[in-house]
């Protein structure tokens, strides 16, 4: 295989690769566009009220260009449509590289936002180089002939090798890869995990401690629920030896089958009012002062 034909294969790979990156980037941005955080990417330089519309517009542009690149890749879209779409893609990446360079100067703490929430790492030369590389790739794809299936297995392998090599280069220039790896390997410790009260109560109701103490309870709805790091406490009214007691369960927030501890407190006269009070919603009485 000559060097010239290898270069031709590399150019042919660009169209589907860029299309996939654009559609992937749009999908990653979509969550950011409809969420509350629009502080990353070049749109962070916009006035606050324009940030969200700008993210949505950018997301839509990427989606349209990605779909149009795929639609004009074969013979049906050859000619002016393919030229226009690929030139617009090159313009988008060229503008992105310049905007990221500006962002790096004006807001050095801001991420590029290229892949939404994954792109929170401050803009570096790697990210700018990636945008410039994609701009060059889009320019290189402008006069590529309509795509077709490989003629031979050798050409197919060459195409795969070219795509893999380019993906490796892009991965090396992408801080998002590190974020993805961190997220995949990250398990929030129990003290930082948001755990619904309903799940805690399910764990409690399935526990041996609950079955053991259920006979002392006069209600199955908690009168108070609160949390201390990895433990959530639930208090139930009960009667033990003809005395009113509060039965308090501590449920560890590690999931089903987690440790459950129990204790009882004689309510005494000091808390008689809390006994007699009505508790329409146990979660709302929680913050009574």
């Amino acid at each position: 295989m000559s060097g010239v034909s290898f270069l031709a294969v590399v150019r042919e790979v660009q169209v589907p690769l860029i299309a996939v990156l654009l559609i992937g980037g749009c999908a990653a941005k979509a969550r950011q566009a409809f969420g509350t955080h629009h502080e990353s990417g070049p749109t962070a330089m916009f006035p606050p009220r324009l940030r969200r519309p700008a993210v949505i517009a950018l997301c839509a542009t990427e989606l349209m260009l990605g779909v149009a690149l795929l639609a004009t890749a074969d013979r049906a879209g050859a000619g002016v449509p393919a030229f226009a779409v690929r030139a617009a893609t090159a313009l988008l990446f060229g503008t992105a590289a310049a905007a990221l360079n500006e962002l790096r100067t004006r807001k050095p703490d801001t991420g590029c936002g290229c892949f939404g929430d994954l792109s929170r790492t401050p803009v570096s030369w790697r990210v700018i180089a990636r945008a410039a590389l994609l701009c060059a790739a889009a320019v290189a794809s402008i006069d590529v002939a309509p795509l077709s299936m490989p003629d031979s297995s050798r050409q197919a392998w060459l195409t795969l090798a070219a795509a893999a090599a380019e993906l490796a280069v892009l991965a090396a220039l992408s801080p998002e890869i590190g974020q993805v790896m961190t997220r995949l390997s990250h398990a929030e410790p129990c003290e930082l995990r948001e755990v619904p009260v309903g799940r805690t109560l399910s764990t409690l109701y399935a526990s041996a401690a609950w079955r053991r103490c259920q006979r002392f309870l006069v209600a199955t709805a908690p009168i108070d629920v609160w949390r201390e790091g990895c433990w959530r406490f639930a208090v139930f009214p009960g009667v033990l030896a003809s005395r009113r007691v509060d039965v308090v369960f501590a449920v560890h927030l590690t999931g089903r089958g987690a440790p459950v501890r129990v204790g009882m407190l004689d309510t005494g006269t000091a808390f008689a009012t809390s006994w007699n009070a009505s508790f329409p919603n146990p979660l709302q009485i929680y913050n009574r002062v």
Partner: protein, 350 residues
């Protein structure tokens, strides 16, 4: 009151001393009974011996008093604390703050004050005021409206009432240097003196974050449990509907599942374990080496908004870990006009 703990299927119980002391103490320290009740219930489940955060009685003020001035003399001031009139000696070394350092004679009857005092060695019953803060106030929140040098600020109060802030003409430039974006949506944190319905801002409490309210950066993703003690900045807030002398703190990581108002989750830019009202934490002022065990008495929503550092003694890590009541801040050795101190926080999960 009896304390029983279920120990086996047969329902054996045993008594535990000290619970009455905890309950009685809650009344002394002004902690709502609802919170102290949680301490009792917690103690009913766990053996709290040797774990001071679970069992220790919350701190009682030993060096701070709050109230309203009833009279001023050259050598003493009389302060009505709501229950009785208390007298504090004043010496040339007493520092008095009323928007700036002033002479104690500048204080007027009716001024609300916070006093840090010490007992005199020769006469332990006599208390000498070390520092007096009069009409001290602080507004921390998101700017809602700007009208020249006047601002309406959403300080996250329970009644949703916006706070009115007026920049003192002499301090306007100084504040604008630290808060260059005095526009709706951006955050403001200023210290000043209370005058009727507004705060006359005389100094910035920190530097303005570059982001809008509600967009504070998230803490980095790191594996493993939270390492305690947690270092950061401790700030103070004015009482909302709390008693003026309450020793407690607004905690930035209130469990969103059981919060009074729907919380957006998250803990600001510091990894803090979720707690609830009534939980206790140990706070240490790194600058004065004073420590106190304090109850969580409110939601530190505004502390979550700021990702700043305190530079009172060295540079603290980013983020506010506690928003103390005025009395707790002063009790721990902080000076209200400084706005913060470098602090470490220990929770019982550590």
């Amino acid at each position: 009151m009896a304390w029983w703990r279920l120990q086996s299927h047969s329902g054996q119980v045993r008594r535990k001393p000290g619970i009455r002391a905890i309950r009685d103490n809650s009344v002394e320290s002004g902690i709502p009974a609802w919170f102290s009740r949680r301490a009792l219930l917690r103690a009913a489940v766990f053996d709290t011996r040797g774990q001071d955060l679970w069992a220790q009685r919350p701190t009682i003020a030993t060096s701070v008093a709050t109230g309203v001035i009833e009279g001023v003399r050259e050598d003493a001031i009389a302060v009505h604390s709501g229950q009785a009139t208390e007298f504090f000696g004043v010496s040339p070394s007493t520092v008095t703050w009323l928007g700036a350092r002033v002479s104690p004679t500048a204080l007027r009857t009716g001024d609300p004050v916070v006093i840090r005092y010490r007992r005199q060695d020769a006469a332990p019953k006599q208390r000498l005021a070390e520092r007096i803060w009069a009409r001290a106030g602080r507004v921390t929140g998101a700017i809602l409206k700007v009208d020249g040098s006047e601002f309406l600020v959403d300080a996250g109060r329970r009644d949703k009432t916006p706070q009115r802030v007026v920049l003192a003409p002499a301090s306007s430039r100084q504040i604008q240097v630290r808060f260059p974006r005095l526009a709706p949506g951006y955050l403001l944190d200023v210290i000043g003196t209370r005058h009727g319905d507004h705060l006359l801002a005389v100094s910035p409490a920190t530097a303005q974050p570059p982001y809008h309210a509600g967009h504070s950066p998230r803490p980095p993703l790191t594996a493993g449990h939270v390492t305690v003690p947690i270092s950061g900045s401790a700030v103070w807030h004015e009482p909302d509907d709390e008693p003026p002398g309450l020793l407690g703190l607004a905690y930035p990581a209130i469990d969103p599942e059981t919060a009074a108002q729907p919380a957006h989750g998250g803990t600001g830019c510091v990894r803090l374990p979720y707690l609830s009202l009534g939980s206790t934490v140990r706070i240490r002022n790194e600058c004065t080496d004073r420590t106190a065990v304090l109850p969580v008495t409110s939601d530190g929503a505004m502390a979550r908004e700021f990702c700043d550092r305190c530079v009172m003694c060295g540079t603290s890590p980013k983020g506010r870990i506690a928003d103390l009541t005025m009395a707790a801040f002063v009790e721990l050795g902080g000076n209200l006009e400084d706005g913060c101190f470098n602090a470490t926080l220990t929770t019982m999960t550590g």
